[in-house]
């Protein structure tokens, strides 16, 4: 065995180019997988790693829940359940907590977030006195000084450069810059406790503290605090969990299948891409192998020689790939942290990484299997005599291949209603079938070339003669095309389905300004004034919000859809469905875009005007009532309604007159503005820190980025695979091309022939891949669009219905037709023009 490895090692060094190619092909997936795993784990700050950021040097973080009844929490307090819903709401004081933790010193602390401050949708806030030694380590002072007064704050580096900030409590001065070592680029505001956050902006309820205790806060202490309605995050518990940390959910079987499918496809693609290189290497070594056989080497030895080749190259690839992957992964995490991600210490998840390395090694060996079997079967005598080797081997196993393909298609049909993952598993079956069919297809297609022009005829015949190399490359293209088309069609169907279901409640170009919850009248007036100042001359229509009769808390009225009434899937009315506009005739007119006397009359009579037939049943519109404050849960009410036409054909929703809301027993107050103003204004958003600003521009998701990513992956794989095969073809065809040159062929012929071969390989692969990809993609449309989880508008239910199948034709054409043409073009351009040298016997 060692002799074989040494032989393989020498061979690898001798053919440096080919070896480098194979190593690169096999190592690439290893690098990517290892990089992502390492990067992911490094960027993921585990609880233990992140302790200083959360606790500083304190022993525990304690927060009160709404009640003082017992609570059950998990080890880190991130989830807890209140035991007794009937327990009375109560505020726990610091003194009570201190009593529970004898000898402890407590300082108040709070986490929360602000909306719309400093032009950011979301700004994290930490309220803590960073001057206190207990907070040492939580944040690092980078510039300036720490806040020491209620109107002073510090910011994190992304917000550097501002002198003041405006929050809802007022304006504060920025006196310093602090950094969270684990989240260096996350925007954050640090202030003294109680100075910036209002209760509804806090994450941790009414009160929370950091505690410094004489001894560690053990799990028994935590349970004690739990019984009084307090949740605890304790350093000691995190470092020594009471029970082993709960395993992640035992992997669901579909996740296992999904990962298995992905791994299989990646390994398959790698093997197919590296196959041609091994096949060519085998051809060069024929004489060497024949000599070994003549010296007494058995078939097993010959196979072992070629497999050793795969072992050496696969091993090198695995090692190099793993090393490179770890470095890249760390670099990736570091780069992401500059953009606001987290950054933990370098963490390499060894088991998965070693798994990837092992797969790389396996790929290398697998790619060498077919050539190894061929090596054992070669006709020793013929090779030693220098006779032309028989190129008439059996053309693969077409029967088996066809059977697998049909089985795969059948399985796909069966998997339609089961789930995406199973459809992919069926796709794998079909792909393997096509791989087995490929040699037969290659052999067959050579017969049909009689009438082609010379360079193409030569290209296809030559490709067909070197069957292993060609079939392998074409299969690689096929597998890539299948996957890309399947995803592409699936995503696009999903996108079209979502897009078509989007029925905005206001015409395109409507600008909407709404107050956040709990905005009082004075503030609302100030907001209106700011709006008027910033957008002079724009006519706004005021709209109202419902408020609960007693509490004055905001009440949200949302459109309710009956699942059984929705024809295919229930429409998505977006913001205006969640919160139906309430107002007067002017609002009605704005939403209708015109005067509609009939609708206006009904509106005046207190009827809701509805723009969508599906929403009205028996002349009534149904609404769900959600209250922001305490009180009973969501309820469903009915309002008499009439149908009318909206401003645009693709507009839905409804509008309620104030009278109808009052009829339901609620009051209203003015908190919203609508206008037709189709220009987006970021300045307005920033200026109105207190309000939500939204411009209706239609369905806002894009599918293009996903399709481009898929196309890029296809481009890479298809061009890469054909490039490999074409380079090998160029080397193999040298003697033939020398003959052509001798009898008067032009150098251009060489280009055309190689371009033709590239196009043939890519074309054959793309066409076969199009078949399996289309089948899979269409099948994917079912689980992606047919099964709906209509949670928001009604009780969450799966709604199996007809699927939307949308095919992105330009994308498909680009992949199936464009890429092979591009491959041919690139191959033609990349061949050097020098005619092959005449290598005749020297006389």
């Amino acid at each position: 065995m060692r002799a074989l490895l040494r032989l393989a090692w020498r061979e690898a060094r001798r053919t440096k180019g080919r070896s480098a190619l194979i190593i690169a092909l096999v190592a690439l997936p290893v690098v990517l997988a290892t990089g992502l795993l390492t990067g992911g784990h490094t960027a993921d700050v585990s609880l233990r790693e992140g302790l200083p950021s959360r606790l500083g040097s304190a022993d525990a973080y304690v927060r009160a829940t709404e009640t003082d009844g017992p609570v059950e929490q998990d080890a880190d307090g991130s989830s807890y359940s209140s035991g007794d819903p009937r327990a009375a709401p109560r505020t726990v004081t610091a003194r009570e907590v201190a009593a529970l933790l004898p000898g402890a010193r407590l300082i108040p602390v709070s986490y929360g977030s602000l909306y719309g401050v400093a032009g950011l949708d979301f700004l994290g806030v930490l309220e803590a006195d960073l001057r206190d030694p207990m907070t040492a380590g939580m944040r690092r002072l980078v510039e300036g000084r720490l806040p020491s007064a209620p109107d002073e704050v510090a910011v994190s580096p992304p917000l550097r450069g501002r002198d003041t900030l405006t929050t809802r409590v007022g304006t504060v001065r920025v006196v310093g810059v602090v950094e969270d070592p684990f989240h260096p680029r996350r925007p954050e505001l640090v202030a003294l406790p109680g100075s910036v956050l209002r209760t509804d902006e806090r994450y941790d309820g009414e009160s929370a503290w950091l505690a410094d205790t004489p001894g560690p806060v053990l799990w028994s202490d935590v349970r004690r605090l739990n019984s009084r309605g307090l949740v605890v995050f304790s350093r000691a518990v995190i470092q020594n969990p009471p029970e082993p940390p709960e395993d992640e959910d035992p992997a669901e079987i579909s996740m296992v299948v999904g990962i298995g499918v992905a791994i299989f496809m990646i390994v398959l693609e790698t093997v197919l891409l590296a196959g041609p290189a091994f096949a060519v290497g085998l051809r060069r070594r024929r004489a060497e192998l024949a000599m070994i056989a003549a010296q007494g080497g058995s078939a097993r030895h010959l196979r072992a020689v070629v497999l050793a080749d795969g072992l050496v190259l696969g091993g090198l690839a695995a090692v190099a790939g793993t090393g490179l992957g770890i470095v890249l992964g760390w670099a990736l995490a570091w780069v992401l942290s500059r953009f606001g991600g987290a950054l933990g210490p370098l963490e390499v998840p060894w088991w998965p990484v070693l798994g990837c390395a092992a797969l790389g090694l396996a790929s290398g060996v697998t790619a060498a299997i077919v050539p190894a079997v061929q090596a054992a079967r070669q006709n020793t005598a013929a090779v030693l005599a220098g006779r032309w080797p028989q190129a008439r081997a059996r053309a693969g196993k077409p029967v088996l291949g066809l059977a697998l393909l049909l089985a795969g298609i059948a399985a796909t049909a069966a998997a339609l209603r089961v789930g995406e993952v199973w459809i992919f598993a069926a796709m794998v079956l079909a792909v393997v079938g096509l791989v087995a069919l490929m040699p037969w297809l290659v052999a067959r297609s050579a017969r049909a070339t009689g009438r082609l022009p010379l360079p193409l005829r030569l290209a296809v015949r030559d490709a067909s003669r070197h069957r292993v190399r060609t079939a392998s490359a074409a299969a690689a293209v096929m597998a890539a095309t299948t996957a890309v088309l399947a995803f592409g069609i699936g995503f696009y169907s999903n996108y079209v389905d979502n897009r078509d279901a989007y029925w905005p409640g206001a015409p395109h170009g409507t600008l909407f300004v709404g107050a956040w919850p709990r905005t009082d009248d004075a503030r609302w007036a100030s907001i209106k004034e700011q709006v008027a100042r910033r957008l002079p001359g724009v006519r706004f229509v005021e709209a109202r919000e419902a408020v609960g009769p007693g509490s004055g808390a905001r009440v949200r009225l949302a459109l309710w859809q009956d699942l059984s009434a929705c024809p295919h899937r229930c429409k998505n009315y977006a913001a205006n469905g969640d919160h139906v506009p309430i107002g007067d005739q002017r609002l009605l007119r704005l939403l209708q875009g015109r005067d509609d006397p009939a609708a206006a009359a009904a509106f005046a009579r207190g009827r809701a005007v509805v723009f969508d037939r599906d929403l009205v049943r028996d002349g009534k519109l149904r609404l769900r009532v959600h209250s922001d404050g305490p009180g009973p849960g969501p309820d469903v009410v009915e309002v008499p309604a009439v149908l009318a036409e909206a401003a645009q054909p693709r507009q839905g929703g409804a509008v309620l007159p104030t009278a109808a809301v009052e009829e339901l027993g609620m009051k209203t107050h003015e908190r919203r503005l609508y206008a037709h103003y189709p220009a987006d204004d970021d300045g307005l958003r920033e200026a109105l820190a207190d309000a939500e600003v939204h411009l209706e521009t239609g369905y806002e998701n894009y599918v293009e980025p996903q399709l481009w990513v898929l196309f890029g992956a296809a481009l890479f794989l298809v061009l890469g695979g054909t490039f490999v095969a074409t380079r090998l073809a160029a080397a193999d065809a040298r003697p033939d091309l020398a003959i052509v040159h001798a009898i008067g062929g032009t150098p251009g012929l060489r280009r055309m022939m190689l371009a033709g071969q590239a196009g043939y390989i890519a074309g054959l692969g793309a066409l076969t891949g199009a078949v399996s990809g289309a089948v899979t993609g269409v099948a994917l449309a079912w689980p992606m669009t047919g099964i709906r989880n209509v949670g928001t508008f009604g009780p969450g239910q799966a709604w199996p219905g007809p699927a939307v199948i949308a095919v992105p034709w330009p994308f498909v054409a680009g992949v199936v037709i464009g890429l092979p043409l591009l491959a041919a073009l690139v191959a033609g351009l990349c061949t050097r023009n020098a005619p092959p040298p005449l290598t005749r016997r020297p006389t």
Binding site: W388, A391, P453, S464, I739, V740, A742, G744, R841, T843
Partner: protein, 224 residues
């Protein structure tokens, strides 16, 4: 009428002089054989005569045209000069008839016509029934005959053969020479390189090369 003439031709590669001051003429209807030990420059002579190589000094004239002045030597090889080598003559992925039509196709002749011409020549060399077979289905002699057919297709005036009988037995070798002789008699000029005197004897003139120079030549007197 002279088809190819080498006038005071020399070819050297750096320090090595492959040919020195060679004068050679091959007229139409004549078969000229070149003999010599290995290293004497036989193949170089052949390459120069066919335009596959250009001399360092001296001129090579083909049908009156100085090869040094020709821009498209490849066209020359397609139309005027036919080549037969000892081995590796045929392209394995093409059938016999496709190999024979190759120079015509390269010249732009339509496939149908080229195929007809090729079949005619294959008929001449007696291989019409093997037209659709691939080279690895043919014997060595048959392959050489196909190669000769390819060198003949399209009424070429000059046929250059470099050890065409190298790998063949006597009987087959004689057949090959018979073909070449027949072609010469029909009006082509044939320049043959061989190391077997028996085959050289088919020629009208045998030229002996020694160290890149012509040492002697044996001329068969005209009897006609």
């Amino acid at each position: 009428m002279t088809v190819v003439r080498l006038a005071n031709v020399s070819r050297s590669y750096g320090e090595v002089h492959a040919l020195r001051n060679v004068d050679l003429e091959v007229a139409a209807g004549r078969l000229v054989a070149v003999m010599g030990p290995s290293g004497s420059g036989k193949s170089t002579l052949l390459n120069l005569a066919g335009g596959l190589d250009l001399p360092t000094s001296g001129t090579v004239t083909l049908e009156g045209v100085d090869l040094a002045a020709v821009k498209d030597l490849a066209a020359l090889r397609r139309r005027s000069v036919g080549y037969v080598f000892q081995d590796l003559n045929l392209i394995p992925s093409l059938t016999a008839v496709e190999n024979v039509m190759l120079p015509r196709e390269l010249d732009g002749v339509r496939a149908r016509q080229a195929r007809a011409e090729a079949l005619a020549v294959l008929e001449e060399v007696g291989l019409a029934e093997a037209a659709g077979r691939f080279p690895d289905e043919l014997s060595g002699g048959q392959r050489q005959r196909v190669a000769i057919a390819r060198a003949l297709v399209g009424e070429r005036r000059l046929v250059l053969a470099d050890e065409p009988t190298g790998a063949l037995d006597t009987r087959t070798g004689d057949e090959i020479l018979q073909l070449l002789r027949g072609r010469a008699d029909a009006g082509a000029a044939v320049l043959l390189v061989t190391h077997e005197s028996r085959y050289a004897a088919w020629a009208d003139r045998v030229v002996f090369l020694r160290d890149g120079e012509i040492a002697d030549s044996a001329l068969l007197e005209e009897v006609r």
